[in-house]
Symmetry: none
Subunit: 130 residues, 4 copies
DNA sequence: GTGGTCTAGACCACA
DNA sequence: GTGGTCTAGACCACC
């Protein structure tokens, strides 16, 4: 299997701004290990051509990911996947999920939907995935 | 006890736009039954004064809720809580939750977080709420 | 004395990019307390007109300061000085100074300049300021 | 003992551009006396091979150092460490340090950090180095 | 009016 | 070629 390691899809339907769609997908790809530390990423201009967006939008996405520690970029050289503490990132993600679930549970409560029902929804997913 | 049926809190910290903070809380109040069908809501001007925001913001919120079927505005009379098919709304909300959970599970998978762990997070919440 | 609380000077001589010159000066102003928490900052467009730069450059500066926790900005409302943990920021600044001094001392060592001489330079400053 | 007089380390982590990392280290080596006046430096190509960078980058570094008076390049012969007025260079460096310290002290003042505290930081360094 | 996003295009330093 | 900065101008959502 020889293909692009990076398949980024931008949807105009998605209300998220482009740069967020890009960072979200790249963050996941890096976290998942689809991109190994040190690997060179497409240059800003390449990526811009490929996704048919402005280089500035890609720059914005790369810049955000750099601030988050997912990649490092050096003028004249390009951008590279950063050495990442996978455990730290996983823990951070779990924390985010916990907050999201809590928010959902709270809002569900107002509609008379108990947490038990949310649990049931999660279990449905587990079964579907089997 | 005759008091405000409606306690809406707008926070500047909350990144959500004001009109969304308002609709979210009113929707929950109506769904929860805190506001009974037919009940008269404060006029746009009253509400605006009370929350110290622009009437335009309230108009936007009422308009959104009307489009969603939660209230009815009669020109010259005011706005009233709509008669609501509680079951229909609950079912709709469950569907929304299902989609959100699926989205979370998908993104979590990229970080090596299995659905079982999400289930665990939900269970933690159940215990905490007891 | 009634004047602008914010005097920002941009120099074309300065090799730092404009947005950094702006953030540096605003950060100092906020840290110093010249701007109180909650105070409204000039809008992006106002500031841009005043400094005769593009609104995007100001946006960049405000965005950086927001990520650093110095201000919060809400669409449609404007930008406001954040409630700040002054102690935390002071400690961070001391850490940065420590690193800078260490770097200077290291580079000075190569020229045969001992730390004692750096100390003497600092003392000169103390006397001058009296 | 006949070994490399010049150990230059280029780091990808270091945000400084490569040419600066090189000039900084060579300048220090010359100022320190590790390279004696008249000594022949590796040719641009040699150096480039050794550091695994482009000859253009080395050319830029050598050129910068020549402009600063640290080395002399004779076409066809190579590059040589310049005869240096060590005192003059030391004095210049002290001046630079004085300016940097003044800048740091000024910025620190905005955070309520007195010069006395900077002095303390310098003293900590002195102790650590003993 | 406010901020948020995106584009097209320019100029610069770095390799 | 690379990334970094800045401009001018457009369109959108929010208030």
């Amino acid at each position: 299997m020889r293909g692009k390691a990076l398949h980024i899809a931008i949807s105009k339907e998605n209300p998220d701004p482009m740069h967020k769609q890009i960072t979200d997908q790249m963050r996941d790809a890096i976290a998942k290990g689809a991109l190994s530390p040190g690997a060179r990423l497409p240059s800003i201009r390449e990526m811009a051509r490929e996704l048919a967006v402005s280089p500035i939008t890609i720059k914005r996405a790369y810049g955000d990911l750099e601030r988050e520690g997912y990649l490092i970029t050096r003028a004249g050289l390009g951008s590279f996947v950063a050495g990442i503490d996978r455990e730290r990132i996983r823990a951070k993600k779990v924390g985010e999920i916990r907050e999201e679930i809590a928010r959902i549970a709270k809002s569900a409560g107002a509609f008379g939907i108990p947490i038990a029902e949310i649990r049931r929804i999660v279990d449905e997913l587990r079964i579907k995935r089997r």
